[in-house]
Structure formats: C-alpha cells, structure tokens
C-alpha cells in the first residue's frame, strides 16, 4: 500500500487542498470553464460530474497546472499554479483520461522512470515500484511490455504510476471509461483503499453509479458551469423524489399518453423512449396509471439516482 499516513495533517480543522473562485478557461471565443467556485478538503473524495464537453477535463488540467487559467483564482495547497507549476505537480498524482503509458518501456520501468522525473532516488524507488506493483495487482506483469496489458491492467498501472511520488491529491479523469464491469470494480476497490489511507481524490466521471460509489461530495457541471453541489444523497434529496417510475408506451405514444398521466406523482419527465414519473411511492403511481386503463409496454420502479438530478438540472441525460 502507498503510505500516505505521513501526509495527514495533525490539526483538527480540515485543510483546504484546492480553492477555485470564479475559475475560467477560454479558448478563443469558446468558454470551456465559465467562472466556477469550489473547494476540496484534505482526505475528501471530490467529484466533477457532467456530460462530455462540460468542462471537467479542462478543470482537471488547470488543477494539474498543465493548463493556465484565463481568469479567476485557483490555489492548490495555497500555491498559485501559474507560478509554482512544478512544485504543485510534485503534490499531485495524475491519471489522464487516455492512458499515456510509455510503450517503449516495460511495466516496472514505467514506474521507475516516472519516479525519476520527480527526482526520487533509485534505491528508494526500487522498493516503491515493488510496493506499487503489488497495490495494482501487477506483480506478475513486472517485466511485461505495457502493450501486452489488458485495458484494466493499463489503467491500474497508470494509477500506480500516479502514486509514485506519494501524492496528497490523486486526480482521476474518467477512471473507468472503457473498462468492463469486473475491471471497474477492481479499480473502485483500489481507489477506496487510497481514500482510506487519506489520499484526497478528485474524480471526473459521466457515470452516475461511479460518482455515487466514490464521491463524498460532487459538483454537477454542464456547459462550463456548476449546476449544483453536495453529497450524492443530498443532491438526490434536493433535486429528485425518493422513487422513480419508468413507463414505456412505445416511442410513438409517450408524448400523447404523458398528457393523460399528468398529475400522477410530483413531476414527469418525458424522454424519447420513456416517461419518468417522480414520486415517493412508485408502486402506487403505477396503480394509478393502470387504473386509468393505460397499458405500458414495460414498467420499472427504482430509486432516484444522480442521473435524475442531472436531468432535472439540465433537461438532458448524462450519457447520450
């Protein structure tokens, strides 16, 4: 396990790791990040949830001080990334959206060379490499070429590489995109372990289940702006009902039938393929619909999720 206990501060008030005020990034006329405010505390697992193009990755790059902000304020561990880029990056572990492992090097060399980039000493790194390979469950792949690893293994190696410098903040951009369910769960387990060890996690995702699993607190982003902020449970409580009833009448009929079931539940959301009925009691709402003599093709009663929060806030679904 990467030792991060040495990182934890001793004072009782939680230290602010990242502070952004009015943070803005423009590319010419295009505003990628539009004046966002947020704070991340030590040991917290903080999420940026939003669809592709919401400005999550740009925000991550500004935090990782590989992209200069166009306006607003940003401090990472009370340092300005515009002036202290290399210093800030020494505190960070970065796991980019697309694996950028070095294909010309073996698995263990990827870790060791990366440690050298931070100026870490060889003998110390040798132990660290062994420790990280164990953490990433890649001991047997030590001498393999990186090209020979599966997608999940590459992702774990990228995370292990991001831990070489014992970072206080680990930045994960879409950590499980493109992985199969089993690989995702292994990865989540590794990330939980890091969190237990006090590493601050900053995660972007467009998967609501991932955000619910991993994040203590998150901001919902859309079109460069923050739409809402809170814990997954609090956001669901604030912006959605306890349960959701999904009914399908066939894509032709949904709109017409929605008029007839207006008034059932607190709120309706009409999507091209289905109608969502927001209510505290899904079964009762379904009874009411059936009592009107309507016959949905399929029905599903489920708990509200962050997907519903996003839909409520933006009128769009997260994954198109």
């Amino acid at each position: 396990m990467p030792k991060s206990d040495a990182h934890t501060s001793t004072d009782a008030t939680p230290e602010l790791m990242i502070v952004a005020k009015g943070l803005t990034k423009k590319y010419g006329d295009f505003v990628a990040v539009d004046g966002i405010d947020f704070e991340v505390k030590r040991g917290e697992s903080f999420g940026l949830l939003g669809p592709n193009g919401a400005g999550k990755s740009t925000t991550m790059k500004m935090i990782a001080s590989t992209s200069q902000r166009s306006g607003g304020e940003l401090r990472i561990l009370d340092k300005d990334p515009n002036q202290h880029g290399p210093e800030i990056r020494a505190h960070l572990g970065v796991v980019p959206q697309q694996d950028n492992l070095d294909r010309e090097m073996k698995v263990w060399e990827n870790l060791k060379a990366y440690g050298r980039f931070f100026g870490l000493k060889g003998a110390w790194l040798d132990n660290k490499v062994t420790e990280l390979l164990e953490f990433a469950q890649l001991e047997e792949k030590r001498n393999s070429k990186t090209d020979d690893l599966s997608g999940g293994m590459k992702r774990r190696l990228t995370i292990a590489r991001g831990l070489v410098n014992e970072p206080e903040i680990l930045m994960l951009d879409e950590p499980t995109t493109g992985l199969d369910p089993q690989a995702r769960h292994i990865l989540w387990d590794r990330l939980f372990r890091l969190k237990e060890n006090g590493v601050t996690l900053v995660i972007t995702t467009h998967y609501m289940d991932e955000a619910e699993q991993l994040c203590d607190r998150l901001v919902v982003m859309d079109k460069g702006k923050i739409m809402a902020e809170g814990s997954p449970a609090a956001l669901i409580k604030e912006y959605s009902s306890k349960e959701v009833l999904e009914v399908r009448f066939g894509s032709e009929n949904n709109k017409e039938i929605a008029k007839q079931i207006e008034g059932i539940g607190e709120r309706l959301e009409i999507l091209p393929d289905r109608i969502l009925v927001y209510t505290d009691n899904g079964e009762r709402a379904l009874e009411n619909i059936l009592a009107k003599g309507l016959h949905p093709v399929t029905t599903l009663v489920r708990r509200s999720s962050l997907e519903d929060v996003f839909l409520r806030l933006t009128g769009r679904t997260l994954v198109d």
């Binding site: 040495a6 590989t66 880029g85 290399p86 060379a113 410098n165």
Partner: protein, 281 residues
C-alpha cells in the same frame, strides 16, 4: 512544509528546493531523468536502427571518397595544400552525419513522442518543466551523436584519412554541431501536424547537404550564392570540422564555433517556448 519522512527527500521537498530560482516554473534541473527514460527505451529498441546512424556516413565515404575519389585524385584544401579526395570529404561527412542524427532525433523521434506516445504529456504532469524535457531530449541526441562521431573517427582514422592530430577536436565539434541542430529542430517539430509535413524538413536538408561545400569547395559558385551558403549552418559545420581534421587551425574556427553557440541559445529559447505553448497552455 516538508511533509514526508526524514530519511528520504519527498518529491515535494525536491521540487520546493528550486523555489525562487530563475526559471523555476520551466526547469527543475532534471534533464538527466529524461535521458534515463531514453536509456530504458533503447534497451527494448531495434539495434539495427541504432547501427544505421553509424553506417550511413561510412557508406558515403566508401562510395564517394574511395570510389569516386579514385578518379578525382587530389584536391587542394583551404590553405592550398593538396589532399586526397577522401581526406577532403571525410570531415564534411562527419559534420553532415552529426546534423542528420540530430535532426532525425529531434524531428521523427520527437514528433512520435509528442503526438503518438504522449511521452511529453506524461513527463510534464510530473514536476519536470518544459526546459528539462528539451535539454534531456537534446542531451540524448548529443550522446548518440558523440558515440557516432567516435565510431566514424575510428574508421576514418584507421584508413589514414585524418592527417592532423588536431583532428581529435572534430569529435567535440561534431557534438557542438549536433547540439545546434537538435535545439532548433525540436522547436521546428513542434509546428508539424502530420508525418507528411516532415518532408518539408527534408526539402531543406537535402540541398543543404549537396551544396554546402560537402563535395567541392565554394569557389565554384558566384559570390552571391556563396554568401547565402556561407550563412547556412551546414557550411559552418563543415568548415569547422574540416579545419580540425586537416589541421588548418586558426581564429576563423572560433567564429564557426560561435555560430553554433548562438544557434544553441536561440534554439533552446525557441524550443522551450514552443513546448510551453503546447503543453502548459
């Protein structure tokens, strides 16, 4: 705020040590870590490619110097002394191979690492700065250039084509030349968007190789062409190396060397600026 255990310096402590120093946002004094990476990568690369950098100038020497030289016989060097044709072109081939090696490393290799391997993206998410990357990559090109130059000198020396002991200076001269070309080449590469555009580089390099006094003296040209060629780096490189190997050592060699010192400084500024614009925008 040093945070980690006392026995080993943490990445943070290492990075903070450079605080307040000139260029600390661009440079962390660890170009050597970039060279290390290339040593690892070399171990798993094809040795044939590595060998080709050494073989190329030797082939040219055999074809032109020994083969063609047989028909040409002796030519006069800059000071009016007769020398064999092979002796005349050997230094030019060394200078050219120093240039070609540096350009190859700083265009093809750098282009690949920049756009496909995403190697620099990974390096610049650590506490390395763009100047570390530039110096490391150029340093690596120089190490290779040095090894190739030594190899070539051993071959031509044993063929008796280096009449003067001053010829030993041709090795550091070749490294200086490679440094100049590599530092400019990397900056140029940062503008290239696809492999096709790499041909533009060759479009410039090939005529420079053929017409820069490589195979015959500049006296055959009218004055105005001569002036243009004398301003080009390969002519300067050849004049520098030829002066060393033929033992025609005088103050003019210092001017040729100075040309490369200026080229190195401007090239490094240019490349660092470009890397910064590309990766830390």
């Amino acid at each position: 705020m040093s945070l980690i255990n006392a026995t080993v310096d943490s990445a943070i402590a290492i990075a903070e040590r450079r605080r307040g120093k000139l260029g600390s946002a661009l440079y962390s004094g660890r170009g050597s870590a970039v060279i290390m990476r290339n040593v690892y990568a070399l171990k798993s690369s094809t040795w044939l490619v590595v060998l080709s950098g050494f073989v190329e100038p030797v082939f040219y020497l055999l074809a032109f110097g020994v083969g063609l030289g047989h028909i040409i016989g002796d030519v006069t060097d800059g000071s009016g002394n007769p020398v064999s044709y092979a002796v005349y072109i050997a230094p030019a081939l060394l200078a050219t191979s120093a240039m070609n090696g540096a350009i190859y490393d700083s265009t093809w290799n750098v282009f690949f690492k920049m756009h496909f391997g995403k190697i620099y993206q990974a390096m610049l998410s650590t506490s390395l700065g763009p100047l570390d990357v530039a110096l490391g990559e150029i340093g690596w090109a120089l190490i290779r250039g040095f090894v190739y130059a030594c190899g070539f000198m051993i071959v031509v020396g044993s063929m008796g084509l280096i009449p003067s002991l001053w010829g030993l200076l041709a090795i550091p001269a070749a490294v200086l030349i490679a440094f100049g070309f590599a530092s400019v080449g990397m900056g140029v590469t940062s503008y290239l968007k696809n492999f096709h555009q790499m041909d533009y580089v060759n479009f410039f390099m090939l005529p420079m190789f053929l017409f820069s006094g490589t195979f015959y003296p500049l006296s055959v040209y009218p004055d105005w062409i001569r002036a243009i060629i004398e301003a080009l780096p390969l002519y300067q490189a050849i004049a520098l190396v030829r002066g060393c190997t033929l033992g025609n050592v005088d103050v003019s060699l210092l001017w040729h060397a100075l040309y490369f010192v200026v080229m190195i400084v401007l090239g490094l500024l240019f490349t660092t600026k470009r890397l910064r614009a590309l990766f830390l925008k």
